[in-house]
């Protein structure tokens, strides 16, 4: 479809839909996350069968990963792919099925998890009918993406697209293999694998969900939106090539680092450790390619809240991809495994890298989707600082709590007996649970600020193209935000 100017008319309705749904799920998921943090500090905050920590925690992870993050990823890919291919999406119908189907799945996930229907596999808790629906919608997305690539009017595919291709393919593979189960009834099934083998496949999935839901698609967003915001091309195309192929090849091997000192065969654990350590190189390749893109544009980082988010996001990406390989080393893992250090590690990546990059992406797209400018740069700045402060307040106490508990578990008296009972280690970290909840509250307050800012932006804009304006043209003075 092309407009009068001869330019293709892109489908932005699906992008608007995913941007809004992502924001709503983000808010819901983070409120639920705060509740989970409060429950750990104050057990009185657990309510009855439906709202205790065991049911709340998977709702938090599913809402923020599949509702918020993937919502932004769908929005960002539909926004970016059409422009990078200079063609409208392959099928508007598939786009609609993707949007409504996906959000229906998130609703079904939330309801079924509250009711206690779970497979207990972390980040793959949904029961089999929802898993089937998820696979179908994912295939719809894949057909739409590949159909668009096939019809593209730009010869080469830019680096962002590579990362999105890797996401589409790998998530399909992981989801299908890990979700294999034999149903007992409509909402109960037993895993096709048992014991150690079930654990092996689950963490092959679980680790690569981090790799291909929280890393590659977010890198794609970074590759597309950071150069747009900075007004500079990506630092090095060669570095993109090197770190893309090495990242996707190495990532998939690292899963067994979740099972160190478990009954999983040693050879598999060793593969997991070795590839996890190697993963630091492609990860830092991506971080450096992003940060060095700002060479000559660092002055903009001082004033532009979006660039601040990208820069701090990339910095957290670098930190957590240094921390992760370190935690996969056997001697460190023997201390950190089963403690809050892992929780801190995950959140330095999830809040620092994933959420900040997603926020920046939304702040960039939303004014353009509603043909206006961002309502308030100042509020975006406030959001940035609240988010950063919240992350520090969240992650630091989790590190301290993790190391404290890890050391107390292994502490012995001079006669070799255990120095602490388990409950003493629980009591020792309670103060950090309280600080963490405060950090989460600060981070969440930033999302409320964003919600208000976005709402006012949409109010002052219009989804319809203003009369006389060219389709797809950026608002005249919207540079930066």
């Amino acid at each position: 479809m092309t407009g009068e100017s001869g330019q293709p008319v892109y489908d932005m309705a699906v992008v608007r839909g995913f941007a809004l749904s992502a924001l709503v799920w983000g808010l819901v998921g983070m409120i639920v996350g705060l509740l989970a943090a409060v429950q750990l500090a104050w057990p009185e905050a657990n309510w009855g069968p439906y709202l205790h920590f065991g049911r709340i925690r998977p709702i938090h992870t599913n809402a923020v990963i599949f509702g918020f993050t993937l919502g932004v990823v769908f929005a960002g890919t539909y926004y970016g792919i059409q422009r990078l291919c200079r063609v409208r999406m392959f099928s508007d119908t598939l786009s609609r099925i993707n949007l409504w189907g996906w959000n229906a799945i998130i609703v079904a996930a939330a309801v079924s998890l509250v009711l206690g229907h779970t497979t207990s596999k972390e980040y793959a808790e949904l029961e089999w009918p929802i898993d089937v629906a998820l696979a179908v919608v994912w295939v719809v997305y894949a057909v739409n993406v590949f159909g668009t690539l096939a019809r593209r009017r730009e010869k080469g595919m830019y680096a962002a697209i590579w990362f999105w291709i890797a996401t589409v393919i790998t998530i399909a593979m992981l989801h299908i293999v890990n979700s294999m189960a034999l149903p007992v009834s409509w909402m109960k099934s037993y895993s096709a694998y048992s014991g150690v083998f079930d654990a092996n496949i689950q963490w092959w999935y679980g680790h690569n969900a981090v790799g291909f839901l929280l890393t590659t698609p977010i890198l794609g967003l970074m590759y597309y939106f950071l150069p747009k915001v900075a007004g500079r091309p990506i630092y090095s195309h060669r570095l993109s090539i090197l770190h893309f192929w090495s990242l996707i090849f190495i990532y998939i091997w690292a899963g067994p680092h979740h099972l160190i000192y478990s009954p999983l065969p040693d050879w598999a654990q060793t593969f997991g450790v070795a590839f996890s350590v190697a993963l630091i190189f492609p990860s830092w390749g991506g971080m450096l390619n992003g940060l060095l893109t700002l060479s000559g544009a660092w002055d903009k980082v001082r004033t532009d809240p979006l660039l601040k988010m990208f820069v701090v996001g990339l910095t957290f990406y670098g930190m957590s991809t240094f921390e992760g390989p370190m935690m996969a080393v056997r001697s460190v893992n023997s201390l950190s495994h089963f403690t809050n250090w892992t929780v801190g590690h995950v959140h330095s990546g999830a809040l620092g890298w994933v959420a900040l990059t997603c926020f920046a992406t939304l702040y960039y797209m939303i004014p353009r989707l509603w043909h206006t400018q961002l309502y308030s740069q100042r509020l975006a700045n406030v959001h940035f600082w609240l988010a950063t402060l919240g992350i520090v307040l969240y992650v630091t106490p989790m590190w301290v709590a993790g190391v404290t508990q890890g050391l107390m578990w292994r502490a012995t008296n001079p006669d070799g007996s255990l120095a602490y009972t388990f409950i003493e280690t629980v009591a020792a970290i309670r103060v950090y649970d309280v600080i963490r909840a405060a950090g989460g509250a600060v981070f969440l307050s930033g999302v409320f600020v964003m919600f208000y800012n976005v709402w006012r932006t949409i109010q002052q804009g219009s989804a319809e193209l203003p009369e006389g304006a060219l389709p797809n043209a950026a608002p005249a003075t919207a540079g930066g935000a």
């Binding site: 429950q39 500090a41 057990p43 657990n46 009855g48 920590f53 065991g54 049911r55 925690r57 998977p58 779970t118 497979t119 207990s120 972390e122 590949f146 080469g156 595919m157 590579w162 291709i165 890797a166 393919i169 593979m173 293999v177 034999l182 007992v184 109960k188 037993y190 694998y193 048992s194 014991g195 150690v196 083998f197 079930d198 654990a199 689950q202 060669r238 192929w245 996707i248 090849f249 190495i250 990532y251 998939i252 091997w253 899963g255 478990s262 009954p263 065969p265 040693d266 598999a268 593969f271 001697s331 023997s334 495994h337 089963f338 578990w409 292994r410 012995t412 388990f422 409950i423 629980v426």
Partner: protein
């Protein structure tokens, strides 16, 4: 130059996607496929029986309430862990565990060998309010498990499904699943009453009873540290103090 050839690849979406798939499939194949062939070699440890009907129902409740988000079932081969929890976990112990319940975070203690550690009545009181037993506990109370009757309408089908997946249940065990569960519940209710706990009709058939049945069997098939050379297991022997 390699980079020029890559420029050509960037123009071909099918070839690019196939290469991408190959790059991620290699690690997947090496890590995921061989264990399937190992599955035949890791036999259940001696004396390990599949869960009884009530234990399996209890296990499904353990999964439903997501106990694994706070309790691991995986004791590592460190002296400080085996001192605290008992013999380290073996691959052959979890062959009837669908799904596995190793867990990833110990907000509470490991439960791999909780079976037999406390009397049934301890668990009953603890589910009612963990702070009645340990004031510093941050575990939610699970009183509702004591007030809800266990649903046995799917028990027979559950065992039949597990039998299809290779769990050695006899035909009689499957068809007699509900009766066996009722009998086991009566046993546990009797033990609670003998400890002075008054049970209503509902409480005596409650979900908490099924969960107690599961917890009390956990890890009980291993009583002493197994030999270091365990076929198919990654346990390279006891590691002193946790660090290498």
């Amino acid at each position: 130059m390699a980079y020029e050839r890559h420029a050509e690849l960037e123009g071909k979406w099918i070839r690019f996607s196939v290469y991408t798939f190959l790059a991620v499939a290699v690690g997947g194949l090496v890590l995921v496929i061989p264990p399937f062939f190992l599955q035949g070699t890791v036999e259940p440890i001696e004396g390990l029986a599949p869960y009884s009907a009530l234990q399996q129902e209890g296990r499904d409740l353990y999964v439903r309430e997501a106990c694994y988000v706070c309790h691991s079932q995986q004791i590592r081969p460190f002296k400080t862990e085996t001192d605290r929890y008992g013999p380290y976990s073996l691959a052959g112990e979890s062959v009837y565990d669908r799904p596995f319940q190793f867990g990833s975070r110990r907000t509470g203690p490991d439960l791999a060998r909780i079976g037999g550690k406390y009397p049934d009545s301890w668990h009953w009181i603890h589910f009612g309010d963990p702070r009645d037993i340990e004031p510093r506990s941050n575990m939610p109370d699970f009183d509702f498990l004591r007030q809800t009757e266990v649903d046995l309408s799917l028990t027979e089908r559950k065992l039949a499904t597990l039998a299809k997946l290779g769990h050695p249940y006899s035909e009689a065990q499957i068809t007699g699943a509900v009766a066996a569960a009722e009998a086991e519940m009566a046993e546990i209710a009797k033990s609670l009453r003998s400890d002075g706990i008054e049970l209503s009709e509902t409480e005596a058939r409650s979900e908490a009873i099924a969960l107690i049945a599961y917890l009390q069997v956990l890890g009980t098939s291993v009583t002493e540290l197994p030999p270091v050379d365990t076929a198919g297991s990654g346990n390279a022997g006891l590691v002193e103090g946790g660090a290498r």
